[in-house]
């Protein structure tokens, strides 16, 4: 029975001794070059600072639901409100 390979099969990984820095740098340059040639996605940093909105945790329907309860709490603890 023929099976359809969805991915290119690879041989088993083989252990190689750690390359010296010169080789590693060369490999990194080679990877970068092939990456650019293969049309990789370019991500540019935004020019504006990233602002995180802290009020996202406030859900309006919850505030409405809690209104009466909160009012009672204030009356029951009138010394601190």
């Amino acid at each position: 029975m023929n099976t359809l390979d969805l991915t290119k099969p690879c041989g088993p990984a083989n252990n190689r001794p750690m390359a010296d820095t010169g080789k590693a740098l060369a490999a990194a340059v080679a990877m970068l070059g092939s990456g650019l040639a293969g049309g990789c996605v370019q991500v540019t940093a935004p020019d504006k600072p990233i602002v995180i909105e802290l009020n996202i945790n406030i859900r309006q329907e919850v505030i409405y639901r809690l209104a009466a309860d909160a009012g009672n709490t204030i009356e029951e603890n009138s010394d601190i409100f």
Partner: protein, 130 residues
């Protein structure tokens, strides 16, 4: 039951409630220093449900505010748990109510973050307030 006996029953209940109220401990009142600081606009109600020193604060006033806020947070935490909300949500909901209940001359935080003095009209409140 005749109308008369209903009336007598209601009167009796009212008297019983009054007697019970007299036996129960009186509802705690604000500390005089706190009451005075509120009236003088030295402290104000924030949108997040906590109190803050607005102006003319000294160390003693800051301590008073901190103490009240710690006690408020304890109450918020308990009620948040009971009502299935977060402490932040409950505190915010209480802040909406606390600002609505400010009296003329007292300070509160407006939606833009500025301190406002409560006037005769309704206070400026956050859009999420009911």
């Amino acid at each position: 039951m005749s109308m008369h006996s209903i009336r007598r029953f209601m009167l009796g209940s009212a008297l019983a409630a009054l007697a019970l109220g007299g036996l129960a401990p009186a509802q705690a009142q604000r500390d005089p220093a706190y009451e005075q600081a509120r009236a003088a606009g030295q402290v104000g109600e924030k949108m997040d449900g906590y109190l803050s020193v607005v102006s003319g604060g000294n160390a003693a006033l800051q301590r008073l505010v901190d103490d009240i806020n710690i006690r408020r947070k304890a109450v918020y935490t308990e009620r948040a748990q009971a009502s299935g909300s977060t402490v932040q949500e409950y505190a915010f909901a209480a802040g909406c109510q606390a600002i609505a209940r400010t009296e003329q001359g007292e300070k509160y935080q407006a939606p833009d973050g500025s301190w406002q003095t409560r006037g005769a009209g309704p206070p400026q409140r956050h859009a999420s307030c009911p």
